[in-house]
Amino acid sequence: MQRITPNMLAMVFIALFTGLGLTYYSLADGKFIGTYHLGSWTTWAKAGTPNPDPYTKAFISLGNTLRLGRSEGIQFTTQRDGNGDLLQKNCNYSISGDVPTATFWTLRALAPDGHSITPVGANQAIQSKRISRSNNGKATIKVGALLTDGNWLEITGEGYFELILTLYDASVLSGFGGTIDKLPIITNEGCT
């Protein structure tokens, strides 16, 4: 019987590290195949289509989210602000900029495990048909614990969170990749 040599052990370690690490990075953190990044926002470009690539298929099967079919809409998520810093519940954020044309869109904040982080009595989501806009039609949304006027998505607690921007009715987004070239920018306005 052949002895297990240090080289053999190193190979097994490297194989496991590469295999598992690459899998985790591609599905959780890096999302470097099958995704579309715009600023800090990310979407799985082929999710919602009948023939997703193997990475998208693996990602879809991992989550327990009810997905959107492509003609229903498209969902962007982010865990980071415009500077690349993780979103924190004890900070206040301003979200402004263009949102691609859709029948309507919603913006929500959830803890990484899917828990709602909006306090009881507050709006759980911002809906585009019910927001106040300035004279030029633009809207700014504030997300944080600090009371603000205008469009405020109140959150509470401590720790990291993620924002979910869902654009409903994707018929206007059929030229995906070419059409969606702008999404709102998230700016940190201070932490407590």
Binding site: T23, L62, N64, L68, S71
Partner: protein, 181 residues
């Protein structure tokens, strides 16, 4: 030195193979996905309305609180699936998904142009029977070809205001979801 480098390269190559095997087999291995959650709370051919997510509570299926959701699971071995009814003029959409969450078909009221929903969902074998005219359908039914027997439909209905959630929930309850016998 060269021998060690060969072992390292072999390790990296083996790692890439492990990575690809995991990615390709994940859809068949995962047990905590939307299908499994829905299997615990619904039976095939019965429409259920999902509870609205509440503030500070778990939102397991990551539902959008601005919408009312109805779900219907189908086991096409029991017969082709049927989903029909009338919906409000506000935005609504329907997505049909296979067990692993891959979208088979989706539509919205904008593409349909009216408030009526009438879908027939057929397995590959049932689709063949349809083509051979051994199954008959009423006119106007949209035929959805499912690649497997276990599929689920998600119906989303947008509420103009959160206060109307209950009323729209009652509207969705009127949808008919069944297996065609």
């Amino acid at each position: 030195m060269i021998k060690t480098a060969i072992w390292i390269i072999a390790g990296i190559l083996l790692g890439l193979i492990i990575h690809l095997v995991i990615i390709l087999s994940l859809p068949n291995l995962v047990s905590n996905n939307a299908w499994n959650i829905l299997s615990k709370i619904s039976t095939p051919g019965k429409l259920i309305i999902l509870k609205r997510p509440k503030p500070m509570e778990a939102n397991v299926l990551r539902l959008d609180p601005e919408l009312v959701y109805a779900v219907c699971r189908f086991d096409l071995l029991q017969g082709p699936g049927s989903l029909s009814g009338k919906l409000p003029s506000d935005f609504w959409s329907v997505g049909i998904f296979d067990k692993s969450g891959v979208a088979i078909y989706s539509t919205t009221n904008r593409s349909g142009g009216d408030q009526n929903l009438d879908l027939g969902i057929f397995s590959p074998a049932q689709t063949r029977l349809l083509a051979e005219h051994q199954l008959t359908l009423k006119t106007g039914v949209i035929i959805v070809k499912a690649p497997s027997n276990e599929v689920y439909a998600v119906i989303r209905l947008a509420t103009p205001h959160p206060a109307m959630w209950q009323r729209y929930k009652e509207t969705l309850k009127q949808l008919k979801c069944a297996h065609i016998k």
